[in-house]
Symmetry: D2
Subunit: 165 residues, 4 copies
Amino acid sequence: MTSEKRPKRVHDFALTRWRGGTVDPRPCRIETRVRYAETDQMGVVYHANHLVWFEMGRVEWLDRLDLPYRAIEKEGLQLPVIEIGCRYQAPARFDETLVIETRFIGVTRARARFGYRLIGPTGIPIAEGYSEHAAVDKDLHPVRIPDWLLEVLDQPAESEEEQPA
Amino acid sequence: MTSEKRPKRVHDFALTRWRGGTVDPRPCRIETRVRYAETDQMGVVYHANHLVWFEMGRVEWLDRLDLPYRAIEKEGLQLPVIEIGCRYQAPARFDETLVIETRFIGVTRARARFGYRLIGPTGIPIAEGYSEHAAVDKDLHPVRIPDWLLEVLDQPAESEEEQPA
Amino acid sequence: MTSEKRPKRVHDFALTRWRGGTVDPRPCRIETRVRYAETDQMGVVYHANHLVWFEMGRVEWLDRLDLPYRAIEKEGLQLPVIEIGCRYQAPARFDETLVIETRFIGVTRARARFGYRLIGPTGIPIAEGYSEHAAVDKDLHPVRIPDWLLEVLDQPAESEEEQPA
Amino acid sequence: MTSEKRPKRVHDFALTRWRGGTVDPRPCRIETRVRYAETDQMGVVYHANHLVWFEMGRVEWLDRLDLPYRAIEKEGLQLPVIEIGCRYQAPARFDETLVIETRFIGVTRARARFGYRLIGPTGIPIAEGYSEHAAVDKDLHPVRIPDWLLEVLDQPAESEEEQPA
């Protein structure tokens, strides 16, 4: 909402507490239209809804890898969110069409991370954030991220030595 | 969800990117009972709902200062969330009664921050997080946090030189 | 919102399309405090949230029969909503404490119905509604409501020959 | 969920307690993709979310009349929901693309009504419902539906003498 908090680089914030990180060669953009239900009495979107939009972006990102999340769940694997962060840059308003931009940040044997940007109608940044996921089985017991998933997620990309700010 | 991510101190995470911070002499605890509507098909609470519980804690915290948020809004001031972070430690489940613990982290002329812990029925940590707020007027234009609010928020507390991990 | 739509009797509306109905000897009242997240940009609570409050009332009603819904689910039985109705009488606002009043309307071999009233701080009626439920197994296949549940729900109450308006 | 409750005609249910009703010459269809956030621990969509989908359909229906709801609000007019009804016919599931079909049912000086059908991927009916709306000003005081709105809504359509079941 104020300019001094504007990140210097795309996905600065997405690297919070994350070592490493690659330039995602598969950025994914989808659109969503703001629902009345998503607003609050401040006249703008309630801040928890941005996390749902991140989920929409993530689902679409996996789809484009031919790895729909519903198929992952059918394999008995689930990827619950274990950490989330979001910085709100400008309010989102009812009936606006927003762009949800999703990038893959990185994966280890135990965790995977995605970064997000929400962009408003005139190109104005609405929010940026990240989600970190663990892998669990049907009973929510932690498991290692299986090879078949790791291989798809961790396709070679241009490595960029990035460190959290 | 895994032990190696367990924070060393309470509210470690709440200090992410925040300079300074005091020991809040006014911790506030309320309870909430998990609604069916708050669960998802993983069988546990969907992660965006934790942010709503943080809001409940914050509203109560302000109440206990005789500074109800609805009264703040009547003064023409609003405190939108400009940054949020949450680390999920264990799933929350339908019908559980959770404790929402809210602490004041700090305030500057432009921002205020709260830290939160969610605690499950057996004392198990469910999540910890923080929210950072700007001050805006009715038209959502940024304003400085007014003196009357600053004075109430920033009551002398034991100062503790804390730095983000 | 207008007086000509005010029901003549309590739970008139709850009997819509329902034959029979008894005077529930076990009315149940709980309170809920309106969350900021539940408001929309009209400055009042978004209408879908009233259904969640009905759910809270229903869960509590079952609790008081020593029949918690989580225990019903553990028996492999689920009671999805198959019809819902709500009439909104006055807006609910942020931070108000509302009373959720739940009454049992009736049960057949295949369906059960509950009626609800939401009451505002000054006793003003906020909404009245009903939910009708089927019984399904874990795979969502329809089943008859089992005897153990029927017996608890359908305890003798004063019968009143009521017909839908 | 059971076949005997299948309505004999389209929008039977939408006419509940409503006198008259016309065949809407402007049915409107949009799609929505089920979000993970919209599911609950039953493994299907939580029933309150269907009301949000109805809202999406209604907003689109108004758009196609060149009467976007955001423009109506700019005129100082709001159309809060004063009655809602929904019958659930089959569960909606994560990641399904649903069709939201919206029809205009009728308007009086004080009220307007819309009917909805939700249709699943294979053409299966998911739910049908209706919403009735009052007109209020910015302060939520009831007003008559203004002529400019009445004229657009109540365009001549083939009249069909329908009575509520």
